[in-house]
């Protein structure tokens, strides 16, 4: 690998978004050589996504940038994959293969060449089996990989990936890492950005840490030692590859069963996604639900919440043995409260406080209460909102717009709305996505305080370290069936 001629260079690069008071990036220097991979890590709001866009040359329309951004030649191409899986797809195609072939078509290449390039990219990323799948049926991780496959067909000189692994399972990450190695071996350069150190950043040659838009340190020729927990913690980065920390002491189990699941099967379309699940969850207990993308974790949680129909012989019992299987979803909420993957589905108000005040109905099912009861219920709700905001660490953001929060805080806002219902069991779907070290700590504290007060948590996650730290048990979902680990 020749270090003489960088493929891309930023020098003393600063950028301020239009309407912002403070710069998102200040005086950043960065050089990328052919065949090299650089990870840019930092906490939320450190400017990692902005730096990704700067490298991709996408900042000019959004504000004022100063400093130098230069590429090896005017023909140097940079491809960037953003962090929102939903927004990475073009809306012009129906299937995975069509989406992956689209970039070639937009360049006017012959159709057969576009399809061949698409198939090669899909194969390289290990998702060739998805080629004919409609895009609407893909999980977040599968969408990201599909979008990346499309970018790879263009054979860019530099590939910029913003939090590429956040929705990927362990195996998909390994496949992506292998694919990026092949890309680099062919002379491509890779820039990864994110808030977590994982298999992909571990595969990089260098790591640049960012803090409040400024470079805060750089590591070369990485070793496990250099990636020490303390160092990552110091830079506010969550170490997803780290050894599980010691679990805090928990109060003795009360052994009261809060959730009992028997013969639980779920069919979607003609496919049996969940098969004969048996599960028990007791007071004070957390179970981590692990499994590959598409293994049925989200389906299981949604079905338990009553948002998807389960098989007619499925048994579901709540606290005190109450039969929940026949209870409609909106009436299960005081027993089981579900938090989905996408906070955008829940959030609609203009402030965090307003969101929480409105999140759950005051009257049963949303019926209007008589005036006097309504006033009393509102007063009670306001007190409760203050309480759950404090629990979720959102008190200082009460008057902020939810979309001005970091993605992790938005998720915390949705978790807080679930706490309003005072459920016995929390069902959390991928709450760790894109969290930095502080966000992970906040989440752990939230889960632990909930279980300490007698609740129980069933949480689906790809983060094996966090699962080991937070879970009393880990269960693996494989092709719709449960396998208990510990």
């Amino acid at each position: 690998m020749s270090k003489a001629s960088p493929v891309l260079r930023l020098s003393d690069f600063s950028s301020t978004y239009r309407g912002a008071d403070t710069p998102a990036l200040t005086g950043v220097d960065l050089t990328l050589f052919p065949g090299e991979a650089l990870a840019v890590l930092g906490p939320q709001d450190a400017g990692t996504s902005t730096l990704a866009r700067a490298v991709a040359g996408l900042l000019s329309e959004h504000g004022l940038s100063t400093g130098i951004r230069e590429t090896r030649s005017e023909h140097t191409t940079v491809g960037m994959l953003g962090d929102d899986p939903e927004a990475q797809l073009t809306g012009l195609t129906r299937t995975v293969r069509e989406e992956a072939a689209l970039p070639g078509r937009l360049l006017g290449l012959p159709l057969q060449e576009c399809v061949d390039r698409a198939d090669t990219s899909l194969h390289a990323l290990g998702i060739d089996a998805l080629a004919e799948r409609p895009l609407s049926t893909l999980s977040g991780g599968e969408r990201q990989l599909t979008a990346l496959a499309g970018l790879l067909t263009l054979k860019p000189d530099v590939l910029v990936l913003d939090q590429p692994s956040q929705a990927l399972d362990h195996s998909a990450r390994r496949r992506l890492a292998r694919s990026l190695r092949e890309f680099r071996a062919a002379g491509g350069a890779v820039l990864l950005t994110g808030h977590q150190h994982d298999d992909l950043s571990a595969d990089c040659d260098r790591v640049l840490f960012l803090d409040q838009g400024r470079a805060a340190g750089e590591l070369h020729g990485l070793t496990t030692e250099e990636f020490s927990a303390e160092r990552l913690q110091h830079h506010g980065v969550w170490n997803a590859r780290g050894e599980p920390g010691r679990q805090p002491l928990r109060p003795a189990k009360q052994n009261m069963q809060l959730l009992g699941v028997r013969n639980y099967s779920v069919t979607r379309g003609a496919v049996r996604v969940i098969e004969d699940i048996e599960l028990e969850l007791h007071s004070g207990e957390t179970i981590a639900l692990l499994g590959a993308n598409g293994s049925g974790k989200s389906t299981l949680l949604s079905a338990l919440a009553g948002l998807l129909p389960a098989a007619s012989d499925a048994e579901l019992t709540g606290p005190g043995g109450i039969d929940l299987a026949a209870v409609p979803s909106h009436q299960r909420t005081s027993h089981l409260s579900w938090v989905g993957q996408d906070p955008g589905d829940q959030i609609s108000a203009s402030t965090v406080r307003a969101e929480l005040l409105r999140a759950a109905p005051l009257g049963p099912g949303g019926r209007k209460l008589p005036r006097r009861e309504r006033v009393a219920a509102r007063e009670q709700r306001e007190l409760l909102v203050d309480e759950v905001m404090a629990t979720a660490g959102l008190t200082q953001h009460a008057d902020d717009h939810p979309y001005d929060l970091t993605p992790a805080q938005r998720k915390d806002c949705v978790i807080a709305s679930a706490l309003l219902l005072r459920p016995a069991v929390l069902l959390l779907d991928e709450p760790t996505l894109g969290r930095d070290a502080a966000g992970m700590r906040r989440l752990s504290e939230l889960v632990q305080s909930f279980t300490a007060s007698g609740g129980a948590v069933l949480v689906a996650t790809h983060d094996q370290r966090w699962a080991a730290e937070i879970g009393d048990h880990q269960v693996h979902l494989h092709e719709g069936r449960l396998q208990r680990n510990s």
């Binding site: 195609t93 006017g108 979008a147 909106h330 829940q346 949303g366």
Partner: protein, 260 residues
């Protein structure tokens, strides 16, 4: 054999031109009947979904024009069939209501047939083949994918609210939640706009004026002849109708023929 998407678009345009260009209920009725037959036999269109769309979009219009034009036609020379206090059923009002509703129903039916039977990729290729500018073709084609996307997002938002205790099976509850859900959809769409724009640019959008079509479509004299034939034929029919040489009955003629 399936038509070239450009031919489908031309046929759609011609159908709309005829429906609104010829002042006779025969044309929209004929288009409506052809569309029903097309939706029934098409392997790509789910007849039930298509029918539901037509009923939901054109049904309220039937009630509105029935009440406004059928009962409250303002003309003083109108031939009254029956009177109910201030309201009166008149031949002219009924004729206008029939004509209006058939036009709207035919338009909705034929557009829904196109939307259900096509996909953004086909529409994009068809619009480009008709020489539309790239950006306009993208906006029109992407709009086709917006409908299922919006449906999906609304379903997810309703599920999320059900999980907070809202009984979304009740119409009044859904109505109360509607503003919030739509506001949420709008905000999330706006926040995704930047990334979508970037995603398109990153994939080379605009680098070639004529991107490669997504598949090999039927080409040749048949497709071209069908397009030009439909276009010229529609213009001739509308022109003849405007010149008064097209012997098609008006709605009033039809009502009189049925002794109304």
């Amino acid at each position: 054999m399936r038509l070239h998407p450009a031919t489908e678009l031309v046929l759609l345009g011609c159908a709309l031109l005829l429906v609104y260009g010829v002042p006779s209920p025969v044309i929209p009725a004929a288009v409506l009947l052809c569309t029903v037959a097309g939706a029934a036999v098409s392997p790509r269109v789910r007849f039930r979904s298509w029918l539901l769309t037509v009923v939901v979009l054109a049904g309220p219009m039937l009630i509105m024009v029935g009440i406004i034009q059928g009962l409250f036609y303002p003309g003083e020379q109108a031939q009254v069939l029956a009177e109910f206090g201030p309201a009166a059923v008149t031949v002219e009002g009924l004729a206008l209501a029939i004509q209006l509703w058939l036009r709207v129903a035919a338009m909705v039916a034929v557009c829904a047939l196109f939307a259900f039977g096509s996909d953004p990729s086909r529409a994009f290729d068809g619009l480009l083949a008709l020489r539309l500018p790239l950006s306009l073709a993208y906006v029109c084609a992407a709009a086709l994918s917006l409908i299922p996307l919006a449906q999906h997002r609304v379903r997810s938002a309703l599920a999320a609210r059900r999980a907070r205790g809202w009984d979304t099976s009740r119409f009044l509850v859904r109505l109360r939640l509607l503003t919030g859900i739509l506001a949420g959809l709008l905000v999330s769409a706006i926040t995704q706009l930047d990334q979508r724009h970037d995603a398109l640019n990153q994939r080379g959008f605009g680098q070639a004026l004529r991107p490669t079509p997504a598949q090999f479509y039927p080409q040749g004299a048949t497709q071209s002849g069908l397009r030009w034939g439909a276009f010229v034929g529609s213009l001739v029919l509308v022109g003849a109708s405007l010149a008064g040489v097209l012997p098609l009955p008006s709605a009033t003629d039809l009502l009189e023929a049925f002794n109304v």
